[in-house]
């Protein structure tokens, strides 16, 4: 009996000692976190437009998509949200559920086409979002025009008990190029007008610290890529469009024309420039620039647009001579300028 009492007492003491030292596992406790995204800074640096408001406005059915992703300190995706705005002046309130801790929040703005049957519903494809180090924004393959402007913001946030709210201000991650073809009808027989590039950048890669870099591709300086292609339209003597390009250093541009099924790539001197994010550049090919000092009157200018609604600040570059016999002079109709 005494021995039995002794063992019972020992057992009770052992159980108390064991369970008093136990702690139960953690459970998931998340807090509503509001991430306010202000996209106005994405379009603000681009001041030059040939028609008022054309950079900020969207075509019918197009909207500004705002995506917010939150990654933990190990780079794992914890929460995400998506909102749509009708213009860059709006403010997106994205709600996330996050536990206490430090996170890297990424905000991405891009324009999407919500029209049924749209050939390019989006201009940038987001992939690999499960981990920040594999997250990538890839060019979807469309020229896109000004709708291809892409904005990104990255911020470290600390979530604590209670209500949390942070604001992110995305900025453009690339350069906007205004390509302006002038006096396209001056020479007969020319059916296509290209701006060639000797390097390209098709996607943006993220690192675990929230920074992002464009992946540059080149082929020993060969002009294997085109920035744009304009087709001849006898209704228009001048055509222009906007092109959004990820930043690249020492990228060279070359003007080429297709005449009688043959490409002429030496109609003007090649231009080399550093394309920087948040800067608008003018790329202007004029096939009959009366102010040009060259005998063939072809001018090809590439430079940053530093003034609002003006191209006078562009530096004029030297244009190479070309074989005038391959081009035909033709009168232009100034009234049909786009």
């Amino acid at each position: 009996m005494k021995i039995m009492k002794k063992y019972i007492s020992l057992l009770v003491v052992a159980i108390i000692a064991i369970f008093s030292s136990c702690t139960n596992d953690e459970i998931e406790i998340t807090h509503a976190t509001t991430i306010k995204v202000n996209p106005s800074g994405v379009i603000a640096p681009f001041n030059f437009e040939l028609e008022a408001g054309e950079l900020e406005s969207f075509e019918s059915g197009c909207k500004l998509r705002v995506r917010v992703l939150a990654y933990n300190e190990q780079g794992g995706l914890c929460s995400q949200n998506e909102q749509y705005l009708t213009n860059y002046a709006g403010l997106a309130n994205c709600n996330l559920s996050l536990s206490n801790g430090t996170y890297r929040v990424i905000a991405i703005t891009d324009v999407v086409d919500t029209n049924a049957g749209a050939k390019y519903p989006e201009y940038w494809k987001l992939s690999g979002i499960e981990n920040l180090s594999t997250t990538r924004l890839t060019d979807a393959g469309s020229t896109g025009g000004q709708n291809k402007i892409l904005g990104v913001a990255s911020k470290s946030v600390n979530i604590i008990d209670g209500e949390n709210s942070y604001t992110l201000n995305p900025e453009p991650v690339g350069a906007l190029c205004l390509v302006w073809m002038r006096n396209m009808l001056h020479y007969s027989g020319i059916t296509q007008f290209d701006i060639d590039m000797n390097r390209t950048s098709d996607f943006l890669e993220f690192s675990n610290d929230g920074t992002f870099t464009p992946a540059i591709d080149n082929n020993n300086g060969e002009y294997d890529w085109i920035l744009c292609r304009f087709n001849r339209d006898d209704s228009w003597n001048n055509l222009y469009n906007y092109y959004f390009v990820l930043p690249m250093k020492n990228v060279s541009f070359r003007a080429s024309v297709l005449q009688d099924d043959s490409w002429l790539s030496n109609i003007a001197q090649e231009q080399t420039i550093n394309l920087e994010a948040g800067v608008e550049y003018g790329i202007i090919l004029d096939l009959y620039d009366t102010e040009s000092t060259q005998t063939n009157n072809v001018s090809f200018e590439v430079g940053a647009l530093t003034s609002t609604r003006s191209v006078t600040s562009i530096k004029e570059f030297t244009v190479n001579d070309y074989n005038a016999g391959t081009l035909y002079l033709k009168d232009i109709d100034e009234s049909k300028i786009k």
């Binding site: 063992y7 057992l11 159980i15 136990c22 807090h31 509503a32 008990d161 209670g162």
Partner: protein
């Protein structure tokens, strides 16, 4: 945590191999004569078995970061009872009438905690191991540990004040300290009023403890004497 629980289980299995209990089918061999020559039972202790059921009123300590508006709730419980009472109150008393005893009540217990959004229901398997001190032949004071293991919890989530808590993941162990009083009738019926004080947090990052007051009714019958 699982290794510690296994160690405890091994300790519990070691107990019966060292218990010194004998059971004689021949009742006459258990009789002895006292100094007056009257035959009395020389066995002193009684083990009994039975069933118990009751209600409890549970409460949870405050969760400081967010006011969940927690309030008490009523739950139910039921299970077995295994008890032993040692010694005789007097030389002429029956076995198992002494002033000390021990009782275990392995039971399924549901605790209900009210909140601003939805009631939290925690189902535990609890084994109180109570040392009993019989103040009178019927009335006794009980005290001892109550080993609790979580079986389930609901709802999956509760939300309040911008905070979302995964209450469905509240699974773990607790060691409650139990104290109370019990009244036992000779026919085996008994009633117990107890308070169970929780000592372990429900989760490492949810530092709330569950305590409860319970009222149980039970019936136990002797299965052997030794």
């Amino acid at each position: 945590m699982k290794k510690l629980f296994l160690l405890a289980a091994v300790c519990m299995m070691a107990l019966p191999s060292n218990a010194q209990v004998t059971y004689e089918e021949d009742e006459s061999s258990q009789q002895e004569e006292n100094f007056e020559g009257i035959a009395v039972d020389k066995r002193k202790n009684v083990v009994s078995l039975g069933l118990t059921a009751g209600v409890n009123y549970s409460s949870m300590s405050k969760y400081d970061p967010v006011d969940l508006g927690q309030k008490g709730g009523v739950g139910f419980q039921g299970g077995l009872v295994v008890a032993a009472r040692f010694g005789k109150r007097t030389n002429g008393s029956d076995p198992g009438t002494g002033i000390f005893g021990v009782q275990m009540e392995p039971s399924f217990v549901q605790h209900t905690i009210g909140t601003n959004s939805e009631d939290i229901k925690l189902t535990y398997f609890e084994v109180p191991i109570l040392l009993k001190f019989y103040v009178t032949p019927n009335l006794n004071i009980e005290v001892g540990p109550n080993i609790c293991g979580s079986l389930s919890s609901s709802p999956d989530y509760i939300e309040d004040s911008n905070t979302r808590i995964a209450t469905g993941d509240l699974k773990g162990f607790d060691l409650k300290v139990t104290a109370g009083v019990s009244y036992e009738l000779k026919n085996g019926l008994y009633a117990s009023l107890r308070y169970h004080l929780g000592t372990s947090d429900l989760a490492k990052n949810f530092p709330c403890k569950v305590s409860a007051a319970s009222l149980t009714l039970g019936y136990k019958f002797n299965i052997f004497k030794f």
